[in-house]
Subunit: 373 residues, 2 copies
Amino acid sequence: MGKIKYELIKNDNGNKNIRLGKLITNHGTFDTPMFMPVGTLANVKTLMPEELKACNSAVVLSNTYHLWLRPGEDVVNKAGGLNKFMNYDGPTLTDSGGFQVFSLAKPKDITEEGVKFKSHIDGRNLLLTPEKSIEIQNKLDSDIAMSFDECAPYPATRKYIEESMRRTLRWAKRGKDVHKNDNQSLFGIVQGGEFEDLRKESAIETVKMDFDGYSIGGTSVGEPKDIMYNMITYATAYLPEDKPRYLMGVGEPIDILEGVERGIDMFDCVLPTRIARHGNFFTSHGRVNVKNARFKEDFTPLDDECDCYTCKNYTKAYVRHLITSNETNGGRLLSIHNIRFLIKLTEDIRDAIKEDRFNEFKNEFISKYKNGC
Amino acid sequence: MGKIKYELIKNDNGNKNIRLGKLITNHGTFDTPMFMPVGTLANVKTLMPEELKACNSAVVLSNTYHLWLRPGEDVVNKAGGLNKFMNYDGPTLTDSGGFQVFSLAKPKDITEEGVKFKSHIDGRNLLLTPEKSIEIQNKLDSDIAMSFDECAPYPATRKYIEESMRRTLRWAKRGKDVHKNDNQSLFGIVQGGEFEDLRKESAIETVKMDFDGYSIGGTSVGEPKDIMYNMITYATAYLPEDKPRYLMGVGEPIDILEGVERGIDMFDCVLPTRIARHGNFFTSHGRVNVKNARFKEDFTPLDDECDCYTCKNYTKAYVRHLITSNETNGGRLLSIHNIRFLIKLTEDIRDAIKEDRFNEFKNEFISKYKNGC
């Protein structure tokens, strides 16, 4: 069918920024707001596609930087693209590799051309450019690709952020010019750090290039929460109504709620699987660690209110035993629960928007979540 | 219902030692010969019970030594026993901890009372006795428990093996005397190393105690294959027709065939899951490592003849990518395949016995398996 289509279903009457929508892709349609699990290396750690579907997961993210290094974009392309390679028939999204180059690959050398760095796997010298990132993503054949951007650090000087943001605009243009996959949509990324006018400039100039959707980058890089929330407000003010908006790397339940309140449609984060491997899980009363001694003989589910495979079949005592014994099934059971928790949160958010009671829902959720168990 | 029942269905006309049978347990009935996957810590590494069932797996083993240390037999007991703890409704078998004490816990001090050793987890001083092993297994509430034995090393002097075997007989008696779970069956274990007369003595004396089944221990501890096969022959000659026979720790395809030829009904081994984590998988043409560079762009299943989940859905190139990227899903996909391979082998063996063509089947399988890819 070609590019994605976004349909705005309705706003919440209590706050017109809040959007209930629908994203139509070549691999299926899903409602927004939506949380998207991350399958860095063409698989969500410890889970297979059937398990993601059982969580009602609608989209899987993969990673350009990681797949470029292993197994190489040509292998994925020869397999028939990311969907066929990982035997997953739903929508896929790839990020540009920008974030990974800036977080994993050190030292790095940023020039107008792109970023020179050493592979974190074998130390090889590599150069990632806007064109190369798009070329790799074209070959991966995801439904949605991201423009190559600089994910600037926090804190940074205004001068640094300004120069970086403008270079990211030039990179976005270069990437768009070489993008050649008619079945793949391309998102632009709004940068500009904590500065309202720079976020505004970035949003306006990115929108001028007419992308299929818009991401907000440079959040969750260490900035205080109120600054992150402002970054979202500054950017979404200048984004068009008829295109999806994606807040990158955000997966804390409260941050998802704050994002939705500011007009965000899509979220992704490694958080639910990463914290799972260390024994952490979400509950409606806050985040808990299953290694806690009080769970040793607790034969109840992780969360009484949860409908996931783990909660339907296993007890805290069993999951605790697996985690403390370093059995990977422990992380698997917690990953299923955590992913389902965030997907369910976005389901509840959508129900609330339908009924114009998002703010009520948000306040109730947060007050319960912050009060703890 | 109480104890297990073994029914001999038929022998193979070509060799009357070979048995097709049926084992009836409190958690279901399964045909023998059967390969049983190992779930050391109340889970088969990387797999959940649904996946084992999809492999047609009929029994799961668990480990007394490991569950004693973590989470402790009382936790499992309070959960309602091993089945409820791990949410698995099929037959279970626990070994006595003997093998682990002798292989993992060093230094150790063997006395008539039992074995003193240090925990491999935290260095605590522990004492495992025949009575303690049975008490733990009673609490784990497996369908089949094992007597506590000394798994003697190879090579060892005749004098050592003789003394060890006779102590194992005394331990078997002590364990049987304290065994108190009417829903749990108890197996005796034949020892005696490579010595025909000692295996004979051990078998005869163990059978005199009238166990619900008989295991052959002290194999796969480094002895040459022909010596292992002789150990089986020496022991099975003195085992009753109406009780099941279990060859402990054996899972190589050819060893399973050699065991069946000598009258064995049950096999277990960590091999299929352990080799999987290192990238190895079984095929009808021998064992292969998926990390091999020739599989980088091989978009065919692991084994064309296999009907497992992995072979139906994934390619060598994808599994290779997961394994070389240290993604645990790689070991999971290979574990599914390897377990299914051994279960399927026992299915084919049973079909062959039904049709009195076991020897033909065995020769054909081995000649293909040994010739390699």
